[in-house]
Amino acid sequence: MVTAVSKDRIELTDKQKKARRNRSVALGLALTAFVVVVYIVTIVKMGPNVFNRPL
C-alpha cells in the first residue's frame, strides 16, 4: 500500500522505508559474499597461475 502520492512521486511510509533498507543491506551482504567466494575460488583453483597470462 502507498500512503501518500505527491504531484509526481510516491511517498513511502516509514515501514516501507525500513523494509527497503533491510533488503538493501541483505542484498549488499549477499553480493559481497559472492565476490569473496569468486575471489577465493579463483585463487584456490588457479593458484600462482592467476598471474601466468600473456601480456
Partner: protein, 312 residues
Amino acid sequence: MSLVEKQSFDDVAFRVSEAHAGDYIALLKPRVMSLVVFTAFVGLVTAQAQINPFIACFAIIAIAVGAGASGALNMWYDADIDAIMSRTHKRPVPSGRVLPGEALVFGLVLSGFSVLALGLIANWLAAGLLAFTIFFYAVIYTMWLKRWTPQNIVIGGAAGAFPPMVGWAAATGDISLYSVLQFMIIFLWTPPHFWALALFRSGDYERAGIPMMPNVAGEASTKRQIFAYAVLVAITGVLPTVAGYAGYAYGILATALGAGFVWYSWKVLLMPESDRGMKPAKALFGYSLLYLFAIFTALLADSILADFGVAW
C-alpha cells in the same frame, strides 16, 4: 490522459514491498535446506576424495542455495493451496509479504546462480545433477505430481534424495553405487515420513484438494504402505555395510535404527480408525526425522573414522 493514471495506487502493480530479508530467507525453506546441507555434506565426505576445504564448503553452499531456490519456486506456484492449509498459510507469499512475481524471480535467479556457481566451483556433473534436482522439485513434483496423484511424494521424494549424490559428484566428478544407496535411503524414507504427517493433517490436505494417500486410498491402505516402506528403509539402511562401503558398527546401528522405524510403523498400523489424536502417527513422524539424521550421522562418522584408519 492515459489509462494508467486511472488505476488505483492500491493495485498489486503499485504495491511497494514491505518484505524484509527474513521473508526472502523463509522462501528458501531453511529447515528443508538444513537437511539438504547435512545430507550433501555426508555425500561429499563419504566420497573420500581429495578436495580443497574451500571448494567443499562453497560447493555445499551452492547446493543449499539451489535447494532453497527450488523451495522459492515451490512457494510461488503453491501460494493458492498454501493459503488454505494451516501449516503453510503464514508463508511469505500467501500472507502477502512477498508478491508471487518477486518469489518467482528470486527462485529463478538463485537457481541459475547456484547451478553456474557449482559448475565453476566443483564440476559440471554436480551442477547438472543440481539443475535436475531443482527442475524435478519445482516442475515434476510441484507443478505436476503434487495435485495429480497420491504417488506425488513417492516420486517427488527423489528431489529430496539427490543432495548426497550431488555432494558426492561435487567431490569426485562421478556417481557410485554408494551415492546411489544414500539416495535410496532418503527416497524410501520420504513416503512413510510424509504419510505419517498426512495422516494427522489429512483435513488440511483435503481442504486444499491435494490428493495425499490418506485422502485418496484411505487411512487403512496408507498405514499398510507406511509399514511396507518402513521395512524397505530398514533394509536399505543396512546395505552400505552389506556392500562393503561402511563398517559393522554402522551396520549394527542402522539395523537398530531400522528396527525402530519398523516398530513405530507397526504402531501406526495398529492404530484404530477411531483414534483421532493419532499419537502413533505423530511419534512416527518425529522418529523418522531422528532416523534420517542418525543414519547419515553414522555414515559420516564411519567415513571419518575410516580416514583415521579406524574401521569397525
